[in-house]
Symmetry: C2
């Protein structure tokens, strides 16, 4: 995927090998991974990879807005290459996180009118169709 490399450049991120690989992982695996999931998947192919690099890189992606952060459980930060406004559903049995392609920013919430809103987050929890 030369795609990933170009995407990084357009946002002013120098496309180092690690950054490309981490971004490719996010693009290909739409499973909302944690830092640890990304690290464990990549380290066999990049033996020198440091978990710190994964943290640094993801924080850079968030800052440059090519990825978004998903916080559903305390101490389980997940990442998403999809930066559009959308929501998630997490199954408490299989722990899978599903996408919900709904733009909540289009729903009118009068109480928000007086504030200046920059981020929209929503998620649901329960048991998914496959687990019951």
């Amino acid at each position: 995927m030369e795609n990933a490399c170009k995407h990084l450049k357009t946002r002013g991120i120098k496309p180092s090998y690690q950054r490309i690989k981490i971004f490719e992982y996010l693009l290909r695996n739409r499973n909302h991974p944690t830092v640890d999931m990304i690290y464990r998947k990549l380290v066999p192919r990049i033996p020198t990879l440091s978990k710190t690099t994964v943290y640094n890189t993801l924080n850079l992606f968030i800052e440059k807005e090519i990825a978004s952060i998903i916080i559903i459980e305390e101490n389980e930060t997940r990442y998403d290459a999809d930066t559009s406004v959308h929501g998630h559903f997490k199954c408490r049995k299989c722990t899978k996180v599903y996408d919900l392609d709904i733009d909540l920013s289009k729903i009118d919430i009068p109480m928000l009118a007086e504030h200046s809103v920059t981020e929209h987050h929503f998620y649901f929890k329960g048991i998914c169709k496959n687990c019951r």
Copy 2:
């Protein structure tokens, strides 16, 4: 507030002194406090109070469903005596968390139909009316 004591009993929670004080704090201060905020506010009046007790008690409240948990930032767990389905707005300047009294469970989200949903969470971030 004898109120708090009765509320605990009806949910099968023995109303110990610490539990009553922590629950009263949640009822009176609708500011979505962290464990640390609750602890620091109560410890002058209950010098023997342990932070572990605050953690244990809040986990019990969540389990017995007399309080709900609010996760907006990673490693900043907040608690709310309001267990109804409602949302929040957090100001990134003054860090205040506002209530949004909207029941998202009433909004139809087709993608959720196939799953069994038990929890609804939503929050927004930005700058509040007082901070701009």
